[in-house]
Amino acid sequence: MEASSSKFVDQLVVPGDVILDLSNLSNQTLKLGGGLRQDGDSICVMKAGKLRFMKPNKYWVESSQKRYVPSAGDNVLGVVVDTKPENFLVDIKGPAIAFLPVLSFEGGTRRNIPKFEVGTLLYVRVVSANTGMNPELSCMDANGKAAEYGILKDGYMFESSTGLSRALLSSPPHPVLEGLGKKLSFEIAVGINGRFWVNASQSSTVILVGNAIQKSESLSMVQQKIYLEKLLKSIQ
C-alpha cells in the first residue's frame, strides 16, 4: 500500500478542500490532526495551511497564526495574571487562561509554594488540554524534574506567530537564529505558543536579536540570508 493516498500532501490547502475520499480507501485507519475533520465519507480541511503527512497514517494542517491552540506536551511561555490558592492563572495566548497548580514544581509541597507576582514570565509545559476545561500546566518534565522549566528572569519577551515559533524550534535550525548565534552570545527560550524570550548581557543585543527574528518571518529563505549577512556586517 502506498504511503499516502492524498495528492494534497505538502500542498497548500484552504478550508473546504477535500483531501481524501474515504469511500475509495480500503479499511485504512487514519489519524487526523489539527485543521482536519471528517465529514461523512470525506476528510475536509478547516484552516488554511500546508497539509502534512506522517507515516503510517497521520495527517494534519500546519499553519501560522497568532492565537495558540493548547495541546498536551507543548512547551510554552506563559505570563502569570493572577494567583489563586490552588493555581496560578497563566496567560498562554490560548482561548482560555491556563492553570498552573501550585504544587507542580520539582519537589513541590504545601510548604514551599513559589511566590510569583503578576506579570512573571514562565517557561512551562502543557500537561493537558481538553475542550471545555482550562489547560493545565506544569513546571516539571514527565519525570518530575525541573529540567529547564520555571521562571525566566530579565530579558525581553517578543511576540511572534506560532509558525515562526515552530520555525525557530525546527531542525535544521532557523538560519537567522543560527547565524546570529555564531556572532553574538545570547539566551533564547521559544514557546510554541508564539512567544520567544531573549536575554543577553547587553540590552542592545536583545533588541537586535529579537527584532531580527521578528523581521525574518516575512522574508523568504534567500532574503533571510541576505538580511542576515547585512545585519552581521553592521554589527562589526
Binding site: 506579570g119 512573571t120 530579558g155 525581553y156 542592545s204 537586535l208
Partner: protein, 306 residues
C-alpha cells in the same frame, strides 16, 4: 473575572524592567533611540477629505464631512467644527464596544483643543448666511490599529484630511439675498478649507523611576510609562495646546526641553503632511482630466448596444 484577565493586557515584569534598563543605555525595544519618531505614512482615500495615517503599527483613519446647519446663537457668523472619535474594539482588545471610554474622550479633547482653540481652521469663512446657515465641519477619527501613541496619529490624520477636504461652493442670490444655491462640483470647483497653521501633536512618555523621556511611545511603552505629555505646536513656534494629565511629576526644565524637541519634530511632520497633500492634489487634478474619457466610452458602448 477570567474574561477580564483574558482581555486585559498584562505586561511582564521582564518587559517593564528591560524597557527601563535599555533606556538607560539609550536604546528602545524597537531599535529606536529615545528621540526618534516612528515611520510615518500618510495616504489619502479616493474621496476628498479622507486620510489614513500609519505611525509604526498605529493606524488611524480620518474622514471630514461638511453640512449646512444653523449656527450657534452666540457665534452667528462662524462655522462649527466638531471632532468625533471611534475606538473600535477591532483596534485593541481593551477597547469596549458601546459608549466611548475615558481614553477616547481624552484623545478627542486633545485633538479638539489643538485644532479648534488655536483657530487653525478659519471658521468665519464657513459662514454662508449670517445667523442662518453655516457649514458644520465634522471630523471622524477611526482608530484601526492601536500600536501606541494614538493622539499623534489621530492629530496628523485629522490635519491631512482637513487639508484635502473640499466643500461645494455656495452663493446667495434672490431679491432678499436669502436664496441659496449650492453649485455641484462639476459646475464650480469645490473650495478647500482655509487653514491658517498646522498644529501638530507630539507625545512624550516618562518611563521608570528616573522619568526617562521618550518620544512617540509604542503600545508597550505606554503600558509601562508613568506619565505622558502631549504638546501641540506649529512651525511658527507657537504652542497651541499642552496636555499632561497628571501622572509622574517632571521638572519644568524637562518640559521646556520636550517643547524644544517637539518643535523640531513638528516641523518634520508638517512638511511630511504638506508633501503628501501636494502630491494628492496633483494626482487629483490629473484624475479630473482623465475622468471625461472613460465616461464618454461608456456612453458610446451604451449607444452601440441600443
Amino acid at each position: 473575572m477570567e474574561q477580564r484577565l483574558a482581555n486585559s493586557f498584562t505586561v511582564t515584569v521582564n518587559e517593564t524592567k528591560f524597557i527601563e534598563n535599555a533606556l538607560i543605555s539609550d536604546i528602545r525595544v524597537d531599535g529606536r533611540r529615545p528621540f526618534d519618531y516612528r515611520n510615518l505614512i500618510i495616504r489619502f482615500g479616493s474621496e476628498d477629505g479622507s486620510s489614513e495615517v500609519q505611525l509604526g503599527r498605529t493606524q488611524v483613519i480620518a474622514f471630514v464631512t461638511g453640512q449646512l446647519v444653523q449656527p450657534y446663537r452666540d457665534r452667528p457668523n462662524e462655522g462649527t467644527f466638531a471632532i468625533y472619535t471611534e475606538f473600535s474594539p477591532m483596534a485593541d482588545p481593551s477597547f469596549e464596544p458601546g459608549r466611548p471610554g475615558d481614553s477616547a474622550i481624552e484623545l478627542g479633547r486633545i485633538v479638539d483643543r489643538g485644532l479648534r482653540e488655536s483657530r487653525a481652521v478659519d471658521t468665519e469663512s464657513l459662514c454662508v448666511i449670517a445667523g442662518k446657515l453655516v457649514w458644520s465641519i465634522r471630523i471622524d477619527l477611526h482608530i484601526i490599529d492601536n500600536g501606541g501613541n494614538l493622539v499623534d496619529a489621530a492629530n496628523i490624520s485629522a490635519l491631512a484630511a482637513l487639508s484635502t477636504f473640499r466643500r461645494p461652493e455656495c452663493t446667495v442670490e434672490g431679491e432678499d439675498g436669502q436664496e441659496l444655491i449650492i453649485h455641484p462640483p462639476d459646475v464650480r470647483e469645490p473650495l478647500p478649507l482655509i487653514i491658517h497653521h498646522f498644529p501638530v501633536a507630539v507625545t512624550f512618555g516618562f518611563i521608570g523611576k528616573e522619568n526617562i523621556v521618550v518620544i512617540d511611545p509604542t503600545h508597550h511603552e505606554e503600558a509601562v510609562m508613568g506619565g505622558s505629555l502631549t504638546v501641540t505646536l506649529n512651525t511658527n513656534g507657537d504652542v497651541c495646546a499642552i496636555q499632561k494629565a497628571g501622572g509622574d511629576g517632571v521638572l519644568q526644565s524637562v518640559i521646556m526641553q520636550c517643547l524644544r524637541i517637539a518643535s523640531v519634530k513638528a516641523g518634520d511632520i508638517t512638511s511630511k503632511i504638506k508633501n503628501a497633500v501636494e502630491s494628492y492634489n496633483t494626482q487629483r487634478s490629473l484624475r479630473k482630466i482623465k475622468r471625461h474619457n472613460p465616461s464618454s466610452t461608456v456612453s458610446n458602448v451604451a449607444k452601440h448596444h441600443a
